[in-house]
């Protein structure tokens, strides 16, 4: 072992005793320790036993010459640097070169010059120290690297629990997402809304590795929590933006696209910020509609600067929305040409069968990249508007129901213009109602009822919008523009909730009365026409099936629904 003074243990291998004596004296005088050998074989044995740090090796020795000894010693040394200085009176260039090729690091000619030998030993000692430092640092790097990888694995495990795939496995969703996509900054989330519809969010974070993945977690939490509570897509996007703005460092943000699909209403709202244009592909007309980004990415603007403008579409069964991160556009082949948006749009234009579009896009990119390239940086999503039968009923949550909780209560909650403009009361009201044990498992149905009736009260009652507008394609976006404008300018009006819950012998009964400041409508007349009640939204027939009764009162600006629930039989 080297001590602090820098003295080395040096092996001197020479078959000539005179030469050995001289070398030994020179080396000891420099303060180093010496072991000796008189032939090649002995040199190798000495090396194994005594672990010298530097070797003076005679080139020509009996029993095994210096070259072979050098080869073996270097092999035994492995990764460590044990300098070998050949001792030789050979003068020709070929022999000297042979010394170095055999693993020798230098040579020393006879007659031995003490100054030169000492200088060489010093030089190699410096080199050894440098080599040792390098090895230590390299080993540290290896350990750190292993830690990092382990951390990443742990982070991924946590992430997978938080940002679970939600309802990505629904039959109407197809997606391509590499398992390590989160470390490329790509995140895909999907959840059913309590009303039965669906939210889908595709995010692409700037950066790579852990920093990119970390931002995705709060986003996933917010997405799933707020979606299940019945918050709107606008509210969710605002909340995510605000959270990311707070926690992400400058220069880190999330390009995203979020879809809000109402299956029954056949409506879709889209928010895009920073991602390349998405495509809505109409199945009937084979029209390709580009949904271009009209917002900055999430996490850039502060809450007061962040405005949400949804793109609203009427959609029919079989229509498909395609979303992607920029991995496709920026994929490069070995001529360094990018795949680009034009090629992507070509795939749509050449489409023969819409149900193959997803595969067509994938194949097109693979073909472009050629065999050498992997395409695991590509994130691709297709969301298809399903038909009625396909939409699975949301499973009822099976929660432990104890009959302790708010079973008998009354709430009167009136929202005036400012509240109507800036607040969505549904999540709060739903929360209150689902505190009732027994109603928690019906939150989907309750939400559907509340949402439908509130929407009617606000849009038709207070804002006086005519749903007939929504029947034709242009009218559709006109309707939503009008809704925004009228709500913004609202000065008078109200929507009022009156909720009452009482226990029954078999469970409980919830009565919801929603009234608005509007003019109502001739509900008596409508009911008399036919059983196919077609007023307001399309959801009224559904509500009728969910509730025990639904009655319009007064001039039609007041509706009362009664909803019953029963204790579940244990074991059923």
């Amino acid at each position: 072992m080297e001590d602090d003074s820098g003295s080395l243990k040096i092996l001197i291998a020479d078959d000539n005793e005179t030469d050995r004596m001289i070398l030994q004296a020179i080396v000891k005088k420099q303060g180093h320790a010496v072991v000796t050998a008189s032939d090649g074989l002995e040199a190798v044995e000495r090396f194994i036993e005594d672990q010298p740090e530097l070797i003076l090796l005679d080139a020509l020795m009996p029993n095994m010459d210096g070259f072979e000894a050098a080869r073996r010693i270097k092999e035994l040394a492995g990764e460590d640097l044990v300098p070998i200085i050949f001792l030789t009176s050979l003068k020709d260039a070929e022999s000297l070169a042979k010394c170095l090729e055999a693993g020798g690091d230098d040579f020393l000619s006879k007659p031995y010059n003490r100054i030169i030998l000492q200088a060489k030993i010093n030089a190699f000692r410096r080199m050894r120290n440098m080599h040792l430092t390098l090895q230590q640092q390299r080993d540290q790097i290896v350990i750190h690297n292993e830690h990092l990888l382990h951390e990443q694995e742990t982070a991924k495990a946590v992430f997978d629990n938080v940002a679970h795939s939600g309802c990505l496995d629904s039959p109407n969703i197809k997606y391509l997402l590499s398992p390590l996509a989160v470390f490329n900054g790509d995140v895909l989330l999907a959840a059913r809304k309590p009303s039965g519809g669906m939210h889908v969010l595709l995010g692409d974070y700037t950066g790579h590795g852990l920093p990119a993945a970390i931002g995705a977690m709060p986003m996933a939490e917010i997405f799933y929590a707020l979606t299940s509570k019945g918050f709107t897509v606008e509210e969710i996007i605002k909340e995510i933006n605000s959270k990311l703005k707070n926690i992400l460092p400058t220069g880190v943000f999330c390009c995203a696209c979020m879809l809000d699909i109402e299956f029954r209403e056949r409506e879709m709202k889209v928010w895009i910020g920073g991602l390349p244009s998405c495509v809505l592909y109409r199945s009937e007309t084979e029209e390709r509609i580009e949904l271009a980004s009209n917002h900055l990415p999430l996490g850039v603007l502060s809450s007061d600067q962040f405005k949400v403008k949804m793109q609203v579409f009427e959609v029919s069964e079989g229509d498909r929305v395609f979303m992607w991160s920029d991995g496709i556009h920026e994929a490069r082949n070995d001529q360094d040409v990018m795949f680009g948006e034009d090629r992507l749009m070509d795939v749509f234009d050449q489409c023969k069968r819409p149900d193959q579009l997803f595969d067509d896009i994938q194949h097109s990119v693979e073909k472009f990249l050629g065999e050498a390239q992997r395409d695991d940086d590509i994130t691709l999503v297709e969301v298809r508007i399903p038909n009625e039968e396909e939409v699975e009923e949301l499973p009822e949550e099976t929660i432990d129901v104890s009959d302790k909780g708010p079973m008998d209560w009354f709430l009167d909650y009136r929202l005036n213009p400012m509240s109507l403009k800036y607040f969505n009361p549904l999540p709060f009201v739903l929360q209150l109602i689902t505190e009732v044990p027994g109603l928690r498992r019906c939150s989907g149905q309750v939400y559907t009822i509340l949402a439908e009736l509130f929407s009617n009260a606000l849009e038709h009652g207070v804002l006086k919008l005519d749903s007939a507008l929504k029947k034709n394609p242009q009218g559709f976006s006109e309707y939503y523009d009008l809704r925004s404008k009228r709500l913004e300018n609202l000065e008078d009006g109200f929507v009022e909730f009156q909720l009452e819950h009482i226990p029954t012998d078999t469970g409980g009964q919830l009565t919801v009365v929603i009234s608005d400041s509007g003019d109502g409508f001739d509900h008596q007349a409508k009911i008399k026409t036919d059983g196919n009640v077609q007023y307001c939204g399309r959801g009224i027939p559904l509500i009728s099936t969910l509730c025990r009764s639904i009655t319009y009162q007064g001039v039609g600006n007041k509706v009362e629904v009664v909803f019953e629930w029963h204790y579940q039989q244990t074991g059923s």
């Binding site: 005179t18 004596m21 006879k110 031995y112």
Partner: protein, 114 residues
Amino acid sequence: MSDQPHLDTEALEELRDVMEDEFNSLIETFITDADKKLVALKEAIDANDASEVGKVSHSFKGSCSNIGAPMLSDLCRQSEDKGRDMDISGIQPLFDQIQAEYLQVKELLSQQLN
């Protein structure tokens, strides 16, 4: 070639400085070794073994140069070359020269003992 000294006194002084107390021991070791080398060389020549002549000459040459006997070292080099060339036909005169030179060097070295 004839203006080379039999002994390089400067080199010898350097050796004396390096070896300190072991200087005498070194000289004795050299002489003992050299005697053996000469015997081995003669045997190799008599056996007409050119390869062995080369090896022994090479080894002797080395220690001669280290001890500071340049002329003797050079004679050994010549002998080594002949051996490596595998032609030791007319080597006897050279051997005689080596032997003569060695006796001179040996005498001078014993005078140098501490």
